[in-house]
Symmetry: C3
Subunit: 348 residues, 3 copies
């Protein structure tokens, strides 16, 4: 529960209407009630805004003139709404201190403000900085560091030599620093190459549930500041992901690939190894990336859904294209023979 | 070990042959021996049935006349076989009670018939109904409810505000209620929107190993009664999955997508966000769904395997289609010029 | 830290240069310094070898004449390098013994040389052979066996009736023996078939983080000796994977499919159920396999990335192919009518 006055002050927004009005929840503009805060991003939502019963709405300046009710004016309403979500409802944070069942190695350094949950195992040389929260059943391996204010939810597995920056957030089941998939073929079997590179993760990196990040072979796997990773992403050894890149669920990135800053990668993409993808590349869901990308922009390769019959014909037709190209060439030759001197601009 | 007489009574099936015969295991019709129970679904298996050494076979009525041995007649032999699998061998269920190492918050309500395994952490406001089984190393967060008879295998992570119905089954490593992937771009970084919607799961829902279901942003993510989810499925915030829908492994469903009742979604499909898929839609493996579906039926988009050379030609040819269309148009124009008045029914 | 003399003896390689020289780390040929060991696989790297400041380099015999510095000659430099990685730096192995917090069932058999970490739960009938290492928070279910020298990292879930061979390595979050996805449709709901087949895993099998392997329905799911599985792979019930096959991350293999020996399957492939894939098949990343393969070789089906506009045209064009085939047939008919007797070799 927060008054609009207080909300405006916290978010740095001007308040129009009743600054004493109190809101307690977030809601979409269509269903928001008198105690709800909502937002609209542009004129497209002008009618929704007029009809809304929301207790308050965050709007862009351009919508101010015509709007009824209690308003907060923001240059970026969606971002203001995101920040407001943390003011309206305090997130659950366990108290500082080490749970009596947790096992903390005597050579670990744990800040007094850090919280370590039940059944955790914290190894030698580990550093947990101020206000770190480690959920129940987590492991943090030897010489790993968790930066100030970072939170691990229950059951996160951190191997040795993993550095996580400040204000990171790691969901349950994520595994950081597992052994990279490095093998040499030796006569009649696979011979594993020991993986000793560790993982280096910047500040404000968010890592989804059951996402896996392998340690590097010799040099570390690197995730730069501000990267957001959804659930069930697989990041192989020595991948490097640039600042503020966002990756949706189920993406797989093979070894040593380097992804730029400010990229957005859709769900279920697969990116093969040893590629370089430049900054500001957007890749649509379910794409396969087999070559480096050196020009910013939007890319895709996934084939969208069709009715089964159409779909079967599509790939049958694709298989017959060789034949079709041959036939068209033949028709062109025939045409040229029939009418030599005809316009030939269509030749490939 | 169960006699056919008893089996028939439990399954509601008529027994032909020796009702005192005892079976102890399931086996395929080809390899079943005298102490095995098997099944056939139709006339296609008439020869296999005749040659079978099975101690008993569940058959459809249409196959009764001609069949030898001990038989149980069922309107749905495969479903009867499924039920029989639980009668032949009692599943492992730990005894009721709370293991001495488990941590149960004083404000949790645990039915006396519930079983809580070693090293579990059960939060405040949690309700565990009758006969619930919680395997070792599970966490159940604040205010979550596990309905009567549901079973969590070892290492399941349930966040706060998750409701699981009755007779559900959740395999190891599944994560329910992790934070949805909701972010606004704020000047120079991603700003997370707090996710407070929880998860609402119906009765008889089965959830596979390492499957993840994010909590909703404001409203809950919803899985209706009878849904079966295989391993490593990713379900984003505010997805809604209708009754009895079956989803195979490695599927990813992006935020706010609504899937109907009685759908079947093949392995490794990717479904983008904010779509609506109607009831009784079947989608083949590895398809990409980018649009809503409002007509029941079968759909697909995955390109099936080819030899590498053919495959390379296929996508090279696909890239040359622009050119081919142009050339065919040119040929058509030429043809029309050469022989004006010719049949033009082939124009696009 | 190891001298070249000792390294040569351990790896069975001849040493050229100073056998007393000591190396302590691995490094790529370009960046290796005086205390680093590197390798080159062939003449392609001759210049890099000449310019290298590496303390020692493993090379093929063919490169010996022209090479400077300290050298070890190997018939397979990459494999020698893999073996050297374990000699240069001893891997972390916890001491033998059962941690005081671990729960070991009185009917489990644990070798004195085995190591069981904190908060483990080891069930009845379990056998842990010599030198087995079980990381923290692992569960090993009833009657499962872990063979000599195998290592489970933290948080591995092994259900009952799972046999893991010798010298296996299982990364965190992997789940072995979860219930196979077997259901019969019964009137108005899914009826689960109890899965009792267990899992049978050979020697020297490596299993990646968060990979899942379901137990078989009646017979076991089988992974043969020497198979290497990357992270987040899903293996359904009764799959059979042959010797030394290597599978990259995010692959899904549906029920009862049988994969041969010495196959290599690229990341994010999806293989549908009940197929047979012969030995020595290589499948490119992100392929969909819908039919059995009975000829060794390379295969693929994934469509590679294009710019979004080109990509959209590609699949629009694919949808128009029916029309194009019709138009080309029409042109051919026209051509034949216009010039009967013309060469018809191009007809499909």
């Amino acid at each position: 529960m927060i008054s609009l006055h207080e909300l405006g002050r916290e978010l740095g927004l001007s308040v129009h209407g009743n600054p004493e009005h109190v809101v307690s929840h977030l809601a979409p503009i269509e269903s928001a009630g008198v105690s709800d805060l909502s937002f609209v991003v542009g004129l497209k939502y002008a009618t929704a805004l007029k009809n809304s019963k929301a207790g308050a709405v965050i709007i862009p300046a351009a919508m101010l003139d015509d709007a009824p009710g209690n308003l907060l004016v923001s240059a970026n309403p969606y971002a203001s709404y995101a920040k407001a979500s943390w003011l309206l409802q305090a997130p659950r944070v366990p108290p500082a201190g080490i749970h009596s069942t947790a096992l903390v190695h005597p050579e670990a350094q744990v800040a007094p403000t850090a919280s370590i949950g039940p059944f955790c195992v914290i190894g030698p040389g580990v550093i947990l900085e101020d206000s770190v929260v480690v959920g129940s059943h987590c492991t943090v391996g030897a010489n790993s560091t968790i930066g100030q204010g970072s939170q691990l939810f229950a059951g996160v597995r951190i191997y040795h030599e993993v550095t996580l920056g400040k204000q990171c957030r790691v969901q349950s089941g994520a595994v950081l620093g597992s052994e990279g998939f490095g093998y040499a073929w030796a006569d009649d079997s696979w011979s594993q190459i020991q993986q000793t590179g560790g993982v280096l993760i910047g500040d404000a990196v968010h890592i989804g549930a059951n996402t896996t990040i392998d340690c590097g072979a010799i040099e570390p796997t690197v995730i730069e500041d501000g990267v957001i990773l959804d659930n069930q992403i697989q990041i192989a050894h020595n991948v490097h992901i640039g600042r503020n890149t966002a990756i949706a669920g189920c993406v797989g990135i093979a070894g040593s690939t380097r992804i730029g800053n400010h990229c957005q990668i859709g769900g279920a993409c697969n990116i093969v190894g040893h590629l370089v993808i430049c900054d500001q590349v957007t890749i649509n869901a379910a794409s396969l990336v087999t070559r480096s990308i050196n020009e910013q922009g939007r890319y895709g390769s996934g084939m969208p859904l069709q009715k089964e019959k159409t779909w079967r014909r599509s790939y049958v037709n694709l298989g017959k294209l060789e034949n079709l190209f041959r036939r068209v060439r033949q028709l062109e030759r025939q045409g040229n023979a029939d009418a030599s001197g005809a316009d030939d601009s269509s030749a490939s």
